[in-house]
Symmetry: C2
Subunit: 188 residues, 2 copies
């Protein structure tokens, strides 16, 4: 652990992975070997901790998605890579994903603009990707935006469903979604 804050965040991470939604400030503090007030000194309030926690995962996940978005081999390959990157990420850390998606964003009613809803940021990222997609030419900006946020939700919702149906192999889910999207893109 480099600095203090990082150490605390790693402890919080461990608790969230182990306890799921039952993570409390007391538990997190205990995991870090300290008590509550120190946590509050570092993160202000629970929302602050959650935002800090969310920020690192979101940044990492968005990084992977950004890489996938520039995969070489054409639109179809890029589509598959991006969908797969998303599902692989939530497969590797389902608890963290659940936390980010279904807890953190809701838990903190105040500062919505700080760490915005994750799908939203994924959508923005996607919109940029779609607008600069060579195979789609000069796509209408509104269309790009609407599609992007829609597709972000599509992948996310499928991910949610898939979390409860682990018997379905990831490749199958990726294939079905990608085929739908690729065929859809072809309308242009």
């Amino acid at each position: 652990m480099t600095d203090r804050r990082s150490g605390l965040l790693e402890a919080a991470d461990r608790v969230v992975q182990r306890e799921g939604p039952d993570a409390s400030m007391n538990l997190i503090a205990a995991e870090a070997g300290i008590t509550k007030p120190i946590l509050y000194r570092h993160f202000g309030d629970k929302g602050g901790l959650y935002r800090a926690l969310a920020a690192r995962h979101i940044d990492e996940l968005l990084g992977r998605l950004r890489s996938a978005l520039v995969t070489r081999g054409g639109l179809a390959a890029r589509t598959r890579a991006t969908v797969d990157a998303y599902l692989a990420a939530i497969e590797s850390q389902p608890q963290v994903y659940r936390f980010l998606m279904h807890r953190a964003a809701v838990e903190d009613p105040g500062v919505r603009g700080d760490v915005d809803s994750f799908v939203r940021r994924f959508g923005d990222e996607l919109a940029a990707g779609i607008r600069s997609e060579p195979a789609l030419g000069n796509i209408d900006p509104l269309r790009a935006t609407v599609w992007a946020h829609g597709i972000a939700g599509l992948v996310q919702a499928t991910g949610d469903w898939w979390l409860d149906h682990p018997e379905v192999p990831r490749e199958a889910v990726v294939a079905e979604l990608s085929e739908l999207l690729i065929a859809g893109f072809n309308l242009s």
Copy 2:
């Protein structure tokens, strides 16, 4: 108010719409002119109240979607009608929609199978619609399921985005999404 339960639910509804996420059992009880234990006698726990609350709205919304799913005029018309029905519904009652989507399902960690997350049930409904869609023939059941939950999320996420961009006309959003989906369906 017909029976007791309905009266309590209407009070709860008022509080949820007025107070948003700050609705507490005490507040709801006060709004109904009673105290907490009566609420608990009727709904068991907070999750029970939320489920009951969600159920009425979900049933109404799903009813509209079901109607849209059997619109006459071919797959394209059905797709447009369904997307439009969803967006029209969330346009007419955004607070209720937010409650259903982002609060009710998350709030109750236990009984997930009772009143499932709304997108989830929309997804199930859609899956049935897709499987029995004449234009899609004998579609692979897994594909139908994956598509359905994905499309449910697609419409939902776009709806979320659209709530913050009311300057975009509904018809435009519906058109963009529908075109993507219809083209996607054509791969079969």
